[in-house]
Assembly symmetry: C2
Homo-oligomer: 340 residues x 2
């Protein structure tokens, strides 16, 4: 019997788990080097209904104020409703899910917050990869934004010409705060429900730029499980080169109370996004996940202020007017720097 | 033709709106007196799809660090899905909703945060009152908790013998953080979908203490629109006597960095509740409400800390072990004060 290359191999779970834990190790080592002071502290945990994980937290460091890098592997009787709505074929089947996810909040307001999550699901007849990475600066630099996107694009391009264009638009769509009409930051890439057998865009926004762009493409050649796994591994490995040079360049930028207060205020948007919209957070809370690990993404200190608006012609207003709108950073970068 | 006393009177909207704005005025005046320093600043706003409101914010006061008291009145084509699920008869009908809501965050960690919301809906064949009030102390005092509940009970008892027992249990059920297995605070009263024609408990938790207690009662005599409106007015008027004496008693209690840090940490739970569970917040965000007014409930400064646990035998652990569990404050108050 020939193995169907469009199905997961027999050892799929072992192989993905091994990758997810090793990328956690690799990223933590790289981030400790960037930090220079603090080390990650690890908690291992078990989940009653099945599975467990290891959560690593860094805090009060030279670079990081607080951040977490999680690995988890969970299984159970059935996926929660929020996912079954998207993949009804999984209803009534046991599921397996593994992934790594991280959010890191630097101290210096000139250093951006960064998030990464890659995940893998199996449930009865279906399986898929998902995840992404996105950058949330407070005082953004166009050259940093371009470096970040360029690194992601090069990684994507080695696997599929249309990954970056589609997943970049999907990221702008997903990391969007509808109630603020703002992107969470300057984006990155995001994808979900990648099983190789369908179109690249599998989101639910009809008529969105990502949906329309994807619909304009010729049907994608089916991709095998191995090809998708290779792509996700490459994405994980692209994390350090996409982020660390930005941190190195900005970590000693002097700042004062104005920048700090603005950073604390903007961190509120991160909380709003994660608690109101984030799929991973909702999945975790709905599946009786480990709350402390799920909410490790929340910033250490946050400020809310009623009806704040940045003063015109400042770096703060430039963040809103230029960087928190979807932009084509690589092909048609916006004009910036007028006020900085 | 005889008027059906179980339907709203012809001038229902005018009368409820007038009450909602006057209770906003009355409460703001009382809170300014408690604060002694700051005054509420008002913003009036219009909602594009219909309606508007007036938002009042107090900040950097003698008593309040930040707080908001909102009035709003909105109408539109159809209620959002989250409400239609509960009241399917409203589908396809225009709706009208008005209410007042407030959250107030004191500076002193010995003073509790307090929330109040009363609201009124009409949508085609259905109408209802809902709302409640609940108290969230950081360093709680049993006598304050009893005073708060006693005031609410006396108010309720003047309208229906079973209002306080049912609505107190419902409050414990509603203001509960499942992912933390904690109540938000020491409770109060909460009710929803009160149209006079059905049982007092109209929640969705089968088998909860509130559901079971309500099911054990004989069927309630139908209550008229006027009776319910009188009850809601009395609830609004009970706010100042339930809260202000607590604030007066505690506002000059000395505190240090330990209490301040704990207060900032516990405020995180308020954010988690409001963004993950709160019906009013979700309704507001789903109906394109005014984001700044909806999120006025969020605290001015908040802290998250991975895996924090209070030290045993402290006032902080007493909060968790005693006050953040449902208690029968009036009939069987828990043992407290051992550690304080």
């Amino acid at each position: 019997m020939t193995e169907n290359q469009y199905l997961p191999p027999a050892d799929s779970r072992d192989r993905v788990r091994t990758f997810m834990t090793s990328i956690q190790d690799e990223i933590c080592a790289g981030l400790e080097q960037l930090d220079g002071v603090a080390k990650f502290q690890e908690d291992s945990w078990q989940r009653e209904e099945g599975g467990g994980g290891r959560s690593r937290v860094i805090k009060d460091g030279g670079y990081f104020e607080q951040g977490g890098v999680n690995f988890s592997e969970v299984w159970g009787k059935q996926l929660p409703p929020s996912i079954l709505k998207q993949r009804p074929e999984a209803a009534g089947h046991e599921f397996y899910a593994t992934g790594t996810s991280m959010v890191l909040h630097p101290k210096n307001p000139y250093c951006p917050t960064v998030h990464l999550n890659y995940r893998y699901f199996e449930a009865g007849p279906v399986w898929w990869f998902g995840g992404g990475i996105d950058l949330t600066p407070y005082y953004p630099f166009l050259e940093d934004t371009i470096h970040f996107h360029q690194t992601l694009k090069e990684t994507c391009d080695r696997h599929h010409n249309e990954y970056y264009p589609v997943f970049k638009l999907w990221c702008d769509e997903y990391f969007f705060l509808k109630h603020r009409q703002e992107t969470r930051g300057v984006g990155g890439i995001f994808f979900d429900y990648q099983d190789g057998q369908n179109r690249l865009y599998r989101g639910s926004e009809e008529g969105s730029p990502a949906a329309e762009y994807d619909a304009s493409l010729p049907a994608t050649k089916p991709r095998t499980w191995e090809q998708l796994f290779e792509f996700v591994q490459a994405c994980g490995k692209a994390f350090l080169p996409s982020y660390v040079p930005i941190g190195e360049k900005r970590k000693d930028t002097p700042y004062g109370d104005r920048e700090r207060q603005f950073q604390l205020y903007r961190r509120g948007r991160y909380v709003e996004f994660n608690l109101v919209y984030d799929r991973g957070t909702i999945f975790g809370l709905q599946t009786n996940g480990r709350t402390e690990s799920i909410l490790m993404s929340l910033p250490p200190l946050v400020r809310w202020e009623y009806s704040y608006h940045p003063e015109e012609n400042t770096r703060e207003s430039e963040l809103y007017n230029v960087f928190l709108k979807p932009q084509n950073w690589l092909e048609a970068p916006p004009q910036v720097g007028v006020y900085s």
